[in-house]
Symmetry: C2
Subunit: 815 residues, 2 copies
């Protein structure tokens, strides 16, 4: 166990490490060449289209030559604090703003708790001094002198600890209540002030029954016309588009090659690019690349439009899922919240997630399979959490030196070298564990996908829950009690329920120094690493050097990433747990937690403003989980404190603690009743108010046109976008330079309600309400033939525009 001095040294080292990261960040971020790594969000919002330059020279385009800026290396901090919360909501979305509130909640809970604990408990602990006298016999650190370990058994001083635990719990609950209230109100306000969006009017219906002789659209149409006659508007069938998705991918590849060769030709206009048609371009006939790919794309577009037609027409490829739209928010809210059919496994309705939040692959899972899937995954998660060492041990046993020699005998001379041997022996087993922990979030996400949730946001929340269990058992309990989780489970099964908190409680104060070190290494240094974005930085520059062929590729190489809620939130919850458990036991841990929360808040605020671009908007749907797990941490801390006090034979005072978990649980129940519905359901009052307000401002609204294909599989949109982008790219590029605002609107429209710009929208807003299926098909054929023509036109125009456009751009960038 470390003394205070050791921890001081460790803190200094970690602070120095974090400081180095920050210096590196300060230098790297002001280089224009890194601009797309550290400020991608501004490119995406359209506020910036090329790196800021301090100098007009060529070198100034890549390196920052204004040396003054190097000395203000922390000025990103005040910059990060400048933006107000409402601006963050507008700029980065509601989820990001709410995510930041987790950190401020941590600060608000732990700052007064630290003052209280350090002010009251540390003097009490120090003055008690059992360990002080036993020093020579026991190996006891200075830290333990400040912790509850220092208090003599049966001491009446434990009343102080219990009192502080009560105060701390009340304070934490008060802050939790205030925050839940704020977040719930903010969410309702956000929903109320949101612009018209398709998800407000749409309900996803699963398990549409298969009525023989009726197609899915007919069944749906009839059902909703009967049961929601006043508000039903139209619906969007969901297609099994796997084959089509493959074609779209291939076409994109062709398009990239085409762009590449055109670019190559422009750089070397005297030499026409040629390529071979065979495998990987290694053999086969020599052809003119540009002509070849143009031809290929044309053929592809034809076969794609055929396939597209086939998918949309073939009723066998239609899944028993549909997006039903209503003419009012009220109608959609009613349909989402009610039970439709007398068979509760049919016609399952729920509010539709926003289009970009949908995980299309899971839409077709039938009801009975969902129960089985959840059971299987539940059992798997249990085994993963408690027995995760078994597969790793297995891999480790394979990945030892003998195994390596067997698999790759030619490596034998190398492996036999002493240096390499010892390195491998130390390294391989650890590597297996590292790889496992690294892929764990992905594995958990895949498990959640198997469970069959249809929204990405739900999937991430489920994965986060699993990750939290894993960390709770393996990081928290696993560090406190030596041995694997499986061994713990086994020993818990053979202990009495009252013994378990005692066993854990006793070890808790002894592990304080370990967790302080953990907070510094994983928390402080980890966050400093987060702001440096080493991985995206390296990947961006590698891509820039080797892969970027066109400006579009550069756009693609710019990877803003997103706050990975499924990993970040559980980690954060672990810090909450540590703070809450140690607040009373070893209060000296609290300052470290506070520094972590403050630093992480600044860093994530900066990252959210400048870097990350969230994939979807769940309107803070993760808050109930954040709240619930902090409550769970409170309960764990109370239980462990009870166990700890019981082991200290503080029989007078321990029973006082029994009321606390009951109060905490009731508080949780109350909050659940009071606030959770705001995150689950759309209240009719709000829906009606918004409907009315809209009707007054826009009485002549053609809702149907807006909603018709908002929920078309994105794969169908991507084809349209492809066509569209090629036809309109020339104008768009210019727009970007002149009026950034226009670009913003454009972008948002594309991601939320993609409107195709080819022809009038009415052309592919299929006549859903028509009762005859033939009409339906006809409308489709018209629209797709229209596409074909439109594409022909646009691509010839494209060729014409292309040369001048790309050329100008090329000049602009590299001259």
């Amino acid at each position: 166990m470390a003394t205070l001095q050791d921890i001081g040294v460790s803190a200094l080292i970690n602070l120095f490490g974090a400081f180095l990261f920050l210096i590196a960040f300060a230098v790297l971020r002001i280089q224009p060449i890194n601009d797309r790594v550290y400020f991608p969000k501004w490119y995406l919002t359209g506020d910036r289209s090329s790196p800021r330059r301090t100098d007009g020279t060529i070198v100034g385009k890549f390196v920052n030559l204004n040396f003054k800026t190097y000395f203000t290396f922390l000025n990103w901090m005040p910059q990060a604090m400048k933006m107000s919360e409402s601006e963050i909501i507008r700029h980065a979305g509601f989820d990001s703003a709410i995510f930041l509130r987790i950190y401020t909640l941590g600060l608000r809970i732990f700052a007064p708790a630290m003052v209280l604990a350090l002010g009251v408990l540390v003097p009490v602990n120090v003055s008690s001094g059992t360990l002080f006298f036993l020093k020579k016999e026991l190996v006891v650190s200075n830290i333990d002198k400040l912790s509850i370990s220092n208090v003599q058994p049966k001491s009446s001083k434990f009343f102080f600890h219990i009192g502080v635990e009560y105060l701390f719990t009340f304070w934490a609950c008060f802050m939790l209540y205030r925050e839940y209230n704020n977040v719930a109100n903010m969410r309702l306000h956000y929903l109320a002030t949101q612009r018209r969006r398709p998800e407000q009017f749409t309900v996803v219906v699963r398990n549409v029954p298969d009525i023989p002789g009726h197609s899915v659209p007919d069944t749906v149409d009839q059902f909703f016309k009967t049961n929601h006659p006043e508000h039903y508007l139209c619906h969007q069938a969901v297609y099994n588009a796997n084959k089509y998705a493959k074609l779209v991918k291939q076409r994109e590849k062709l398009q990239r090659w085409f762009d590449y060769y055109v670019l190559k030709y422009q750089r070397n206009s005297h030499k026409k690019p040629f390529c071979r048609t065979g495998f990987l371009g290694l053999w086969g006939q020599m052809v003119d690349s540009i002509e070849y790919y143009k031809q290929q794309i044309k053929e592809f577009d034809h076969s794609m439009s055929l396939e597209r037609q086939k998918v949309l027409k073939d009723s066998k490829l239609m899944l028993p899922v549909t997006f039903v739209s209503f003419d009012s928010r009220w109608g959609a809210a009613v349909c989402a919240q009610t039970q439709q059919s007398k068979n509760p496994t049919l016609w399952l309705t729920s509010s539709a997630p926003e289009p970009r939040d949908i995980y299309w692959e899971n839409l077709a899972i039938p009801f009975i399979s969902l129960t089985i899937r959840k059971l299987v995954i539940g059992v798997s998660v249990f085994f993963l959490v408690f027995f995760y060492m078994i597969p790793i041990a297995f891999v480790q046993s394979l990945a030892n030196l003998e195994g390596l020699e067997r698999v790759a005998p030619f490596l034998r001379p190398v492996i036999r070298l002493d240096f390499i041997k010892s390195f491998l022996q130390g390294f391989l087993p650890g590597l297996a564990l590292k790889i496992f922990l690294w892929i764990l979030p992905t594995v958990l996400l895949i498990m959640s996908k198997i469970e069959g949730y249809i929204a990405l946001s739900t999937l991430e929340r489920r994965a986060a829950a699993k990750y939290y269990y894993f960390m709770l058992v393996n990081v928290f309990l696993g560090s406190i009690i030596a041995g694997t989780a499986f061994e713990q489970l086994d020993s818990f099964l053979h202990q009495s329920p009252t013994q378990i908190p005692r066993t854990i409680g006793v070890s808790i104060p002894m592990k304080a120094t370990f967790f302080i070190t953990f907070i510094m290494v994983d928390g402080w240094a980890g966050i400093a690493g987060e702001i440096l974005r080493i991985k995206p930085l390296v990947i961006f520059h590698l891509k820039n050097m080797f892969l970027v062929k066109t400006e579009q590729d550069r756009e693609r190489a710019m990877d803003p990433g997103f706050v990975d809620f499924k990993e970040t939130i559980p980690s954060l919850q672990l810090y909450f747990l540590l703070g809450i458990v140690y607040a009373v036991v070893t209060p000296i841990l609290l300052p470290f937690i506070l520094v972590f929360f403050a630093f992480a808040y600044l860093v994530y605020r900066h990252q959210i403003i400048n870097v990350y671009n969230q994939q979807y908007e769940s309107c803070g749907a993760f808050w109930p989980h954040v709240h619930g797990r902090i409550i769970a941490s409170l309960l764990i801390s109370q239980l462990l404190l009870m166990g700890l006090l019981a082991s200290k034979e503080a029989a007078d005072s321990t029973p006082l603690l029994i009321i606390l978990p009951i109060l905490t649980l009731s508080f949780h129940k109350y909050c659940k009743h009071r606030f959770e519905p705001a995150f689950r359901q759309y209240p009719l009052e709000d829906a009606m108010a918004k409907d009315k307000a809209e009707k007054e401002t826009e009485p002549e609204l053609n809702m149907k046109a807006d909603l018709a294909d908002a929920y078309l599989h994105p794969i169908f949109h991507s084809f349209e976008k492809e066509v569209e982008s090629s036809s309109s790219s020339s104008e768009e590029e210019k727009h970007q330079e002149e009026t950034p605002e226009v670009r913003v609107d454009k972008h948002e429209t594309q991601s939320s309600t993609p409107v195709t710009e080819l022809g009038s929208p009415s052309h592919h807003h299929y006549a859903y309400n028509s009762t005859s299926p033939s009409h339906y098909t006809t409308a489709y054929e018209q629209s797709s033939s229209h596409y074909a023509t439109a594409y022909e036109q646009s691509s010839s125009q494209y060729e014409y525009n292309y040369e001048t456009q790309r050329y100008e751009e090329h000049e602009y960038r590299y001259n």
Copy 2:
């Protein structure tokens, strides 16, 4: 421990006891004088208005003189089986029919299980014979030779037991699934074919917010007009009518005295009855009783109409609860299932229970208090279940001889008698326990009332749940493990979780004989006592002798009672638990269970057809609980079998059982998803279908008139009924004799949609939809002044009719 012979003897004794009960029942039921005790249901349905007579003589009116009927003493059994299920539903309600299905479910589960267990396990157990050889050392009964105890530890024969447990679980789940499916379909069908009833159109809204300057009706009206504009019809406010209820009670008393004196006068028409006005009629002024009570009633009616007016006008007496009616079932279903307000603690909507199912006192409980109440009751139930011996021991310590002497010193000489002393010493402590167990269901019901549920059916279900927990811990576990529940809890807390099933499992086979005796005493004899109805029989005859003054009183003295679900269903579930646990362990218990189920089925079928009159109709809402607790029993049996086998060191076979609880739980989850919504929510599809069908048959329906005061507090109806009955009793009595069908309709109308018959209904269908409160009040004053006049008229008419009517009746009965 008993041998097979002992059990045989015990069975014979119990069979003989049950036989005696049945003989007594057979004799008593055919006496005309007991007709209202054993066949009250037929009086209530109107099929019978006077006892069946076999003989025209005066004696024949009281005693059955047809001696042939005495010899067919079991002929109630085939009679009970005659009625089909659909007839039972029509005759006794849906709840009763579903209640009977619990017994048939028991028969269906246990009959094949018995064949299997007796056919397979008993030979296996007998052939194993450990105990057979150890006979001399161990005190082992013959029953144990047939049980699992007889199998040697580590024997591979346990595979048979595990196999049978698997088969039995699968069979039980299959039957449970089928039955749940049947019941859910029957319920939906019943709801779909039900006549128009107010609860189909009504939603109960709790926590109406208090908006300053607006009265509750205004707020409600505005809210629902805004948020449910298309379907909102009207609403019924709820008043705090405690004072008025008191007046109603007093008036009823006066009315009874009035009736009594009138009757007296008729019997002795030459002597006018007089009475004193003072306390208990012991002193004070002598007055003409008839005149005096007539005057009193008149004054009372005046002050009642004033009070009534006051209650209905005073906005302070209006509770923040209201019954909101819609013009369609669809509208009501939508409102009940959706969230109304952005504050989820306001405007809480749920489907209204039927009017006679409402527990009015709980309607005013605010939301925050509900959480606290549930918490307090939850904790209390926990203590009641585990520490119920403490208050009893306390009472017992008071109720010993010394305590009695202290409290009542004058009893000392009596108590000092040896005989009395020993009797009291043996009797008093037991009495305290008996009284406690006797009042327990009532206590549990009161606890449920404190929890704040607003429907009687819910209250009973909650009380049943608590009773089940009590019996599970104190009867089942308490019998298996010696010691009080508290001692068990203490020992469980100090045992490891894997040790608990082992501890219980080991004792299980040893307690088989106890439970067999329990089944015979509590089950067989208890059920035979049930059919005899000793308590109602005695009370009816006592009332008949001393209290019955008028024919109306005789009607009142006839107490059909009702199936007390809150006591019967948990007891039944205990039998299921016993059967399921012992099916594999001691299969010889199964025949006893089967006899119980068969016999109880017959008895309850008879009682439901001839006696009981349910207070309300919950449409089988208790079935999910029945299903859930049978599943819980399966889980308990699996766990205990695992513990038992572990203690038998059957290490090869025990792990095979681990899968079974997981499968059972998933089955339960699936059933919950699949069937439970049918018991919770009214599907929109059904609502719409029923609305449409009704609109076609009755296009010009005045819904508002039907619904206007269906949900008026019954206290207000009772006043109207009082008035009504006095005015229309003369015609009604005759109707009863001539056309029983008319009477049926009349009765049903009264209990479900009470329609007042004074004046046209429109008079007190207050103008709810008017926006000005003044209009509201005026309508009221009109209606109540109307009442006053109507009453005057009716009571004078009443006097006129009374003499002839009562006189005729008197003649008819007693001459």
